[in-house]
Amino acid sequence: MSRIKIGVVVFPGSNCDHDAHYVASTILRQDAQLLWHKDGSVGDVDVVILPGGFSYGDYLRCGAIARFSPIMKDVIRFAKNGGVVIGICNGFQILTEAGLLPGVLLRNKSLRFICRTVPLRVETTATRFTNKCTKGEVLRIPIAHGDGNYFADDDTLQQLEDNGQIVFRYCDEHGNVTPEANPNGSRNNIAGIVNDQGNVLGMMPHPERASDSILRLTDGLKVFYSVLESFGISVPNTTVVSE
């Protein structure tokens, strides 16, 4: 395979849709398309990205209304059939609301929106989203959210830990997972998880904001390159430069 089709869903209020599309098309050079929320189908894409933003204004609860939009029915079908889905920020919130990922994202502990580039520790490389990383590697990727405080009950949390579904944790610059390094109060410093089949990723940090050397942040590319490689696409073996 030389190229894959990446669909970026546009909900009313999505605002990182163009950013994800830009990375998919211009940086990764794949076939990228925007998928309109009122359409009932994701078409023939290989990967669906649910982008960041404030779908439906986030007025009821983040992601709570978006999950009912026509396209989500098909995203759920796509995911259940093993299709690759990446939910970033608001997209992660929508995935939990839609039941594709366990848990929920609460208000940040500080009750404030936080925009900051944070270190993330890669917890597992046995996913199609992190196979280009090394275990314990520290990535620098920006967060920008008001509701990123991941919560799940003890049993769910234990399952996630036991199954190796926790992909990224907030850490300090040396990779230590500490309470001080946790920007939003998420349980077990969780920043990103996959479902138990390993085809659906939800993460609060924005890899699409760290995929362009002009922006002086490129660690997000490792996530996207991992996905491409999982489709058998050869990707540059970059040692990416960080800020």
Partner: protein
Amino acid sequence: MKRYLPVLREEPDVTLELALEHGLTEEEYYRMLKFLGRTPTYTELGIYSVMWSEHCSYKNSIAVLKMLPRSGKKLLVSAGEENAGLIDIGDGLAVAFKIESHNHPSAIEPYQGAATGVGGILRDIFSMGARPIAVLNSLRFGELNDARVKYLFKNVVKGIGDYGNSFGVPTVAGEVYFDNCYRTNPLVNAMAVGIVEHSYIAKASAKGEGNTVLIVGSSTGRDGIHGATFASEEISEKSESKRPAVQVGDPFVEKLLLEATLEAIRTGHVVGIQDMGAAGITCSTTEMSARGGMGMEIDLLKVPLRESNMTPYEIMLSESQERMLFIVSKGYEEEIIRIFKKWDIEAEPIGTVVNSKFVTIKVGTTTVAQVPAKSLVLGGDAPVYIREQRRPTYLDQVHSFDITSLPPVDNYNETFLKLLSRPSIASKRWIYEQYDAQVRTNTILYKNCDAAVVRIKGTTKALAMKTDGNGRYVYLNARRGGQIAVAESARNVVCVGAQPVAITNCLNFGNPYDPEVYWQFYEAVQGIAEACTILETPVTGGNVSFYNESNEETIYPTPVIGMLGIIDDIDQVIDSNFKEPGDIIWELGRNFGEIGGSEYLMMITKKAVGDAPNIDLHYERSIQQCLLEMNKHNLLKSAHDISDGGIAVALAESIVSTKGLGLHVEYNCKIRPDFMLFSESQSRIILTTENKPTILQEMYDLANKFNVQLTKIGIVTDRPQFNINATIMVDVEKIKDVYYNAIERIIE
């Protein structure tokens, strides 16, 4: 959705007394009668009173504003002609940008006031067809330890953040000062920048007889009625009761409005667009008609209302947010409405463009107002005044302050750290982390930098942008303060490697009927005009906010400049951070040890005293050109403007974002040490370069070529210690702690 219909009630008879209550003067009442040739209806009185309010008519400022240089080869429209200024940046692209105040609403209802300030300026940008790519702000509050100030501060920041974050535009730069004079009257100025392809620029005029007038966006309610008039008075106890005059914003609707608007423009059937800001339907219908030399017939029965029993008067004066007026080519209404429907936005035909000089407002078949468009608008027949001015009496007193009376500094480390922890100087991290600064993935620089840098996808270019304005300088010396505001904002964009190209300005002043305030206004505008002429940065537009005073305080006269710069090659972007041990630290420019009006003097005396620092605009220009030339030769590793807190603070700011670095500076210019370290003498920049003989020689050669002073003052070290003349010796970690956490420690 339930549809509400307007009601026709018997309206009060219009008398001089009623007109006075509406804020018109006697003279203006008779002027209105003359234009109409009869006594106005109540609705017409409402229309004249908002259109002739200071906020809409600029009646007390426009004559002075005309002194500003408003033309240049890159300007695509003249100032005031459209919703915002428009600059050609090549590659078939133009930049729309403008700054506007939302001071009065923010003083009463800080969250919504600030949020709708951002919303309003964004609509000004995308109503021209431009996609907003960045917002900035300029804020002024009282001292942060005051409980009311904390409330205003926290909510203004949250309002700005929530609106921009949800809308999806990065908030990339700003400035914040804290001073008691802004305690009851905070300043909230918001600036937006957008990009548009030349072929999709939308005009704000009504043309083409028979074309359809659409109202799009939110429905119309009673919010914000008389907002414009409210903004044209001083703040008093009565202001609290005017809370309904503050609008409520909905960034989600605005985001949809943006996407739908840009899509509609691409059909080629949109003739004109204007945002509905102050004075809502009144202002947009009359201004668009006047610009197009046409008239309109509007039927209020067709305006979607969100409340029952609204009168024509209320509908015409509503300032409900997220609404716009579109003129669409006859026959293409359905196509345009379909696009808005796709985005779940209401769009309703409410009238037509007519070949007449009147805007006629009807409810069904009943005419409730018929007004000549030109008689209402700025640039038409709205009143124009030049007010009496008088040099303020306080000036002699503040200038006579004897700076030699200042006690010598006892403990330099302590004084330095105290200065660094002052909220006006300390890191604004607590603020900027609440703003999404990176959405749209264009932001190259946004924190700890002299100016924000935003790249333009599909080109090698980037834009630099910054807001600037030191009100204390203007208070002490209005003309010089105006000059410095422009010079410093230009210097800021130069420090990131950009060529300054044009400005937008927001002029925040007190009551123009006070001759001393008017003198400040006149002088400051003169200063801005002089600096813009010499630095070749014409004024593309902006906003005047008068009446920024209460019973208790009058603000410093505070003109805020929004500067735009262009970087042709992204690789030329530089920042203010020191880079490597061994690099040479330079001072470009000359320190005169001026301490008047400085943050240091303010800290010691608790008063704005002395005179503002001097500025030689031609020298300033040379400094800026010299820096750009040095950067073109790839000599520079960092550049940072020396401003509030002087060279000591500027050096600290250059080190706080680095890891493991320190500095050793030997700095001597035969001035009293505290004045030398904390002086805010203008036209000075800290530079670093590699320590290589050929580079040092090139640096000196360029400084000679531009005839500016360049002094080697120190070296970047690999030991995290901050050492200036062994007078200030502090661990860099201590500096970081004080600098980054000062504001949080006061308000949390």
